[in-house]
Amino acid sequence: MSALDTLAAPAGDLLSRIAPAALLAGVLVLSVHVGVQSRRLAELNRDIIDQDQQIRRSAAALAPAPGPPLVLAPAPGVAAATVGVLQRQAAAAGLQYVEVKITGQRPILPNRLLLSALLTGTADAPSLERFARWVGRGQAGVVLKRLVLTAPPQPSRSAGLATELTVLAAIDQPPPRPSTADGA
């Protein structure tokens, strides 16, 4: 009788008993894992529902962007468009020798800019009043911050005009192009 035979017999017997036990233990461990995963899934679903509600609430409470803007133009041309609009309005009001300079700009939203403009020219009372009424309509996206009229040395119906304005401008963003990598 060899030692190998002596040890192999009980080993085989043991294996036949261990196999079902090991399988049962594996099933038990797997059941626990499935249970833990189910709980995590339930928690995640609860969190998703909570977050969806928060999204709906936040979207409902979202304030509209300030506006309407005076100018809507693509980003590179906002300043030029603003100058053009102010010049046209000044000319329409009757102001003369109008020159508009953009002295500063600052973004207040990704698609909204506040531009500071200095308008110089000459004005008489009626044209000044017309221009002021256009600015003062309130919804034109333009604010008159300061106006200075200086009488010329020689008698004249017009006086030198310098006006500081703030303009609300919107950047016209084209909608994103559909990706061509999708096999279009």
Partner: protein, 270 residues
């Protein structure tokens, strides 16, 4: 591990039991039974199929070995219908009284077979359950991954919305503070107040408007060098006194000194 096998020695027969001594490289009786079962054909005086056996410890043998007494009984002892499945026999062997317990090999085999069947069924059941659970587990893992991803997307959207809300609030505030500086409405008001139909000419030398109000400088009557019709932004200040404008001391027809200053407060034009 090797060991020298002892031939069964000191074969004894006590009643229906044959006994002999064997030396095995194991220490427990249970293992000794398993070892003997493999070599029973060489140790038994009867065919293996016709016997039952048991082992009892005798004591230490050579180094690494233990001496056991092997008891063998003919299977015929279990054949009577009322025979028990377990037979007890006391045997005198090497001057010691040994107790053997013989199990009916047929019933032992039946029990082993049934145990194997049950074990097999349990294994198959466990395997099937395990496979089902594994499939369920995989599906849940996919669901958890999808839910996590969706939660991340929701969190990103929520952050964007919050940032957008904060940005819009700040933008609205910035625009509101700029709009509060609006002074345009003061100009028509001031012109209306200054430009009454009075005939006494006032020469306006400067005119300034901001949020706080309107201020200006005028001369009345116009300085000689600037003689002419009322001008200075084209505004006649004839109605200043009537409108209650500062300096307020301009009764109709009264003369004011050149360089006199006037002011219209923002409140007056609301």
């Amino acid at each position: 591990m090797t060991w020298e096998e002892d031939e069964p020695d000191r074969l004894a027969e006590a009643g229906d039991v044959y006994a002999c001594a064997v030396e095995l490289p194991v220490s427990s009786v249970r293992r000794a039974r398993s070892a003997v079962a493999l070599q029973l054909d060489r140790l038994s005086p009867l065919p293996v199929a016709d016997v039952a056996f048991d082992v009892a410890a005798l004591g230490p043998g050579r180094p690494g070995s233990t001496r056991f007494a092997l008891g063998i009984i003919a299977r015929a002892a279990f054949e009577p219908p009322d025979a028990p499945a377990l037979l007890h026999r006391q045997v005198e062997f090497e001057g010691r009284r040994l107790a053997f317990r013989f199990r009916d090999p047929g019933r032992v085999q039946e029990r082993t077979d049934s145990r194997r069947v049950v074990g097999g069924l349990v294994s198959i059941l466990a395997l099937c359950t395990g496979l089902v659970l594994l499939g369920f587990d995989r599906r849940e893992a996919r669901d958890v991954a999808a839910a996590s991803s969706r939660l991340d997307d929701s969190a990103f959207t929520l952050d964007r919305l919050r940032a957008l809300k904060n940005g819009r609030d700040a933008a609205a505030q910035a625009w509101a503070s700029e709009s509060a500086l609006q002074a345009a409405a003061l100009i028509p008001c001031a012109i209306q107040r200054l430009g009454g139909g009075r005939a006494d000419p006032v020469y306006l030398t400067s005119f300034q408007v901001d949020r706080s109000g309107v201020s200006g400088r005028f001369s009345h009557p116009p300085p000689p060098a600037r003689a002419g019709p009322p001008r200075g932004a084209g505004v006649t200040l004839a109605a200043m006194a009537g409108a209650g404008l500062a300096p307020g001391a301009l009764p109709p027809g009264a003369a004011s000194a050149p360089g006199q200053v006037f002011t219209i407060g923002a409140r007056a034009c609301r």
